[in-house]
């Protein structure tokens, strides 16, 4: 077989001879903590976010165990607080950790950092020192968040709604939030800067460091996703920073903005908060959609269908995302006119999302579909994201939202979008690029079993919650309320439903937990015992598959020439290396 020599053949050989890659380039803990190498920073982010995911996951299991039956089951009363207070702290920390420490930085900071410069054929991001600063800010913010747990707890929910979060107990009989509000919001404030700096870095990198031949419409779609995400990070995160700062100074007793007793407006906080936090939903999902575009095309060996529609739909979602924050506030008393406008704009977000799903399907049509673990994650992303997106219609519509707002229907909806969407894309993307990151292959069968268990557990946990919410279970409830309602004289079949539904949901959570441990086991085994991966194990066409696995310190010896990243012509299987090689240049 003739192997086309585009920087690779000779280079691959040389690097292997030297045995030099980014992992072995230098040694010692300090060489990691103060590295300027985007790949190492990406790996350190990965460790940080997976650690946060574990912490948040433990909280999730505590929540589901508490709700497995009526009344107190596992959570203890701590100090002078009741067990309900403990529950309120646990769900708050679950949300805050998962959102601020895991999902928002998740794909951009970990996978994005590692893959973005390599996809561009660049040596690094535009500002490597800024990149390291982002990581340190992330760790610094995480320390604040952990400090909040030990410094008096936090029971506001991750949304920190005023006046519950701002007012202090002043000898009144009103119970306000615990003392951890300032540390955790300060932590989120710092994490915001980490996010902004990453966004700045990615935008500069994409503008300045694209290789010869890579026009905007020759960029891999993951980069479009990251670009759209970076725009949101830069434009929306400062608003969160200002809001949290106002909250902190108000709670410290310095100014009054939100406290209605002193002329403030608590609903103003909701506007400020969601002006960031709704776009933040797209910070979570846009890079995930980018990952899925790469995976679907690569594992189908087929050119992505409707490149421009997918690329522009990312930008459209990013921009529309700024105009829909009010749909979190239909019950707050905002005017009918405002609610109507927010509702209509919300529905427009459905269109670019639907376009992406249709285009992914069209990409698979007549492809050569490899049913391996990463592809199963990508396909199950379409499953869960479709459910998450379609149930969004129920919440975008005004009248149904009034019924479903702040119930388990909403809980199920955003878990389908965020866990189903972002986490599935993150784990799938991790398996997709794992051979590139570590240079090791993993056991496909075992990885598929881990996927099966997580997929079943996930749907079992969250699907039933749609019904629980629609039938009458509000969110953030420590009690199932079935017994309490029965005591008030309510005799409805719903009460039994509450108990059974919650038990099913908790059972699903345990299955998920088993699956995640299996998943971790597969990766750990691969890391220590895995077979060496070829440069291109899946037959991908974008630039990251043209450098060895793991890549050398500078990614590429010479700047590669970019081609259409989805042109699979001329990529041939090579039995000798159990991988794919390019035998003829791609279309430029």
């Amino acid at each position: 077989m003739t192997r086309f020599n585009d920087q690779l053949g000779a280079f691959d050989h040389a690097a292997e001879l030297r045995g030099d890659n980014y992992l072995t380039h230098s040694r010692g803990l300090m060489s990691w903590l103060f590295t300027l190498d985007h790949k190492r920073i990406g790996v350190m982010y990965l460790v940080g976010i997976l650690g946060s995911f574990f912490l948040g996951g433990v909280m999730a299991l505590l929540i589901r165990t508490e709700l497995i039956a009526e009344g107190q089951t596992i959570l203890p009363a701590i100090g002078d607080k009741t067990w309900e207070d403990t529950y309120n702290q646990v769900f708050t920390l679950h949300g805050a950790i998962m959102v601020f420490l895991f999902i928002i930085p998740g794909i951009p900071a970990a996978l994005g950092n590692f893959i973005l410069p390599i996809m561009l054929g660049a040596k690094d991001v535009a500002f490597p020192k800024l990149n390291l600063t982002s990581w340190w800010l992330y760790m610094f913010g995480a320390v604040f968040a952990v400090y909040a747990i030990v410094s008096g707890g936090l029971d506001t929910g991750w949304t920190f709604y005023t006046p519950y979060s701002t007012a202090q107990i002043q000898g009144s009989d009103v119970y306000y939030a615990m003392q951890g509000v300032i540390p955790i919001t300060a932590g989120a404030f710092i994490l915001g800067f980490s996010s902004i700096l990453t966004g700045v870095n990615f935008i500069a990198t994409i503008h300045m460091l694209r290789p010869p031949g890579m026009t905007w419409f020759k960029m891999p779609l993951f980069l479009w996703g990251l670009y759209a995400t970076a725009i949101i990070q830069i434009l929306a995160t400062p608003v969160l920073g200002i809001t949290l700062l106002l909250l902190i100074v108000e709670r410290a007793g310095l100014i009054i903005v939100f406290d209605p007793a002193k002329g403030g407006d608590p609903v103003l906080y909701q506007h400020f908060f969601w002006f960031y936090s709704h776009p933040a939903v797209y910070i979570m999902i846009l890079p995930a959609m980018g990952v899925i575009s790469e995976m679907i095309s690569t594992h189908s060996h087929k050119h992505i269908f409707g490149y421009k529609f997918i690329a522009f739909s990312s930008v459209a979602i990013a921009l529309l995302g700024f105009l829909v924050w009010g749909h979190h506030m239909f019950t707050s008393g905002q005017s009918v006119m405002a609610s109507a406008i927010f509702s209509l704009l919300t529905f427009f977000v459905a269109i670019p999302s639907a376009i992406k799903v249709f285009n992914w399907l069209a990409t698979m049509y007549k492809g050569s579909i490899s049913v391996n673990a990463p592809m199963l994650w990508a396909m199950s992303f379409i499953w869960v994201f479709s459910i998450g997106g379609l149930t969004g219609l129920f919440l975008g519509a005004l009248s149904t939202d009034i019924h479903l707002h702040d119930t388990y229907f909403v809980v199920a909806h955003f878990h389908y979008v965020m866990v189903g969407g972002t986490v599935f894309a993150l784990l799938g993307g991790l398996l997709h690029w794992w051979p590139k990151i570590t240079g090791k292959l993993y056991h496909q069968g075992a990885a598929i079993w881990a996927w099966v268990v997580i997929f079943i557990g996930f749907n079992l946990t969250f699907f039933v919650q749609f019904m629980l919410g629609a039938k009458g279970m509000p969110r953030r409830y420590a009690h199932l309320t079935a017994d309490a309602l029965a005591e008030l004289g309510i005799a409805e079949a719903n009460l039994l439903y509450l108990k059974v539904g919650n038990a099913i949901s908790s059972f699903g959570a345990y299955i998920q937990a088993i699956g995640f441990f299996m998943f971790a086991g597969v990766l750990a085994y691969s890391m220590f015992r895995g077979r060496r991966s070829p440069a291109n194990p899946w037959g991908g066409a974008s630039l990251e598959w043209q450098t060895p696995s793991p890549p050398p310190h500078h990614n590429f010896e010479t700047t590669p020439i970019a081609h259409d990243p989805y042109d699979f012509d001329g990529i041939e299987y090579d039995e000798e290396i159990d991988g794919y090689v390019r035998t003829q240049p791609a279309d430029s």
């Binding site: 309120n88 709604y161 006046p163 007012a167 119970y175 209605p260 007793a261 002329g263 189908s300 060996h301 087929k302 992505i304 409707g306 421009k308 529609f309 239909f330 707050s332 008393g333 109507a340 509702s343 209509l344 529905f347 427009f348 269109i351 639907a354 249709f358 399907l361 698979m364 049509y365 007549k366 492809g367 050569s368 579909i369 490899s370 379409i382 499953w383 479709s386 219609l393 975008g396 519509a397 005004l398 009248s399 149904t400 009034i402 019924h403 702040d406 629609a470 039938k471 009458g472 969110r475 953030r476 409830y477 009690h479 309320t481 004289g489 309510i490 409805e492 719903n494 699979f568 299987y573």
Partner: protein, 379 residues
């Protein structure tokens, strides 16, 4: 329920016991069918493609198909667009239904605080009756006016499909008409708090009893009479004194005496507040009378008579109806909404009046017109 949309089994949704719930359920089931169709279509295609085009050998190649087709992509963007616009319109229709006014509606004030609900009815005699459960009448429209005394709460009655936040410092309204009595339903309906509000958020529960036609007035009379009947029975001379009360001062003296005398009875009678009397007292005590008349005379500020429900035009051209939120803001933030024909000279009462005092003012201002209406009706 829209008749053209078949309901799924009862296990998908809360019971349907109001006109609003009818709208909500109709749209809900419509969306279940639409989403179900799209979901199944997407998954079916995905599964079929995966089975049919599975890579059997590593050397398999994908077939050549076009990489884009603008016509096709436009074509599959349009049906979802049409569907979401239809859903938007249906949702808006239901939303306006529950946000709008209702003629001849029963008005109930809802006070929320950690972690209780209180429902306030006003009898034709101007006495407020406070009860911990909501009582309504079947097929009679109702408007709830919600307010919170501490943090944000939210009232949800799943069977009625209605929910509204109780926000401190403002009055939110929601309207609906119950269509099923509690007797038909087999038990009262649950009412829950859905905005996280602290330790006992999940036990901030209450019930809704929907009375049969004509039975609500009977209940209200009972509820307002029960404490007074007891007063009459236990302390006839105090009862006689109660009937003669015309000012808040007398009312407070009476209540103080009762509290010292019979605390248990005091607690029951305390549910029967007379906010308009409190408002009248505040009107004199806080110096309002200097600038605002109660008989329509123009002083430095507008008269309070005829104010309730009137349209106000401000110096900046904006307009508002004199409802609870307007009166509140005119008291705490008077310079923000200056009626166009007056000078803005009123000082802010922010922090000088408590929430219950502002509520009492509102009740007083309303009572001025209700008194006038009664005078007109009885020439």
């Amino acid at each position: 329920m829209s008749p053209y949309i078949p309901t799924l089994a009862n296990w998908l949704m809360a019971p349907e016991a109001s006109d609003v719930a009818g709208d909500v359920h109709g749209l809900y089931y419509f969306l279940v069918y639409v989403s179900g169709f799209f979901f199944l279509a997407i998954i079916a295609l995905m599964v079929v493609f995966t089975l049919k085009y599975r890579r059997r050998s590593p050397k398999d190649k994908a077939q050549k198909t076009p990489t884009h087709h603008y016509g096709l992509e436009a074509a599959w963007s349009i049906p979802p667009l049409v569907i979401v616009i239809v859903v938007f319109v249906l949702g808006l229709k239901g939303f306006i239904g529950m946000s709008g006014r209702r003629a001849n509606a029963l008005e109930v004030k809802v006070n929320a605080w950690q972690w209780n609900w209180e429902f306030v009815y006003t009898t034709p005699e101007g006495v407020e009756v406070r009860v911990p459960e909501l009582h309504l009448e079947v097929d009679r429209p109702v408007v709830l006016t919600l307010n919170s005394q501490d943090v944000i709460h939210s009232l949800w009655i799943p069977a009625f499909g209605v929910k509204r936040d109780a926000v401190p410092g403002r009055y939110n309204k929601i309207a609906f008409t119950p269509t099923v009595t509690s007797a038909e339903h087999g038990s009262p309906f649950p009412l829950l708090c859905t905005e996280y509000c602290g330790t006992q958020h999940s036990t901030m529960l209450s019930t809704v009893t929907v009375h049969e036609r004509g039975m609500f007035e009977v209940w209200l009379k009972e509820a307002s009479k029960a404490p007074l009947d007891e007063l009459q029975k236990q302390a006839p001379e105090l009862y006689a004194q109660y009937l003669k009360i015309t000012t808040n001062e007398q009312f407070q003296q009476f209540m103080d005496a009762l509290k010292a005398d019979n605390p248990e009875l005091h607690e029951k009678v305390d549910k029967l507040q007379r906010p308009a009397l409190v408002g009248a007292e505040l009107y004199t005590a806080k110096g309002c009378a200097q600038c605002h008349s109660t008989d329509g005379t123009r002083l430095t500020g507008p008269s309070l008579k005829g104010l309730w429900g009137a349209k106000r035009v401000f110096t900046d051209g904006a307009e508002a109806e004199a409802d609870e939120n307007y009166i509140r803001s005119a008291i705490v933030n008077p310079m923000e909404t200056i009626v166009s024909t007056y000078q803005g000279v009123m000082p802010s009462y922010q922090g000088k009046l408590s929430d219950p005092q502002i509520d009492a003012f509102i009740a007083y201002i309303r009572s001025l017109d209700e008194a006038a209406e009664q005078d007109n009706n009885q020439p």
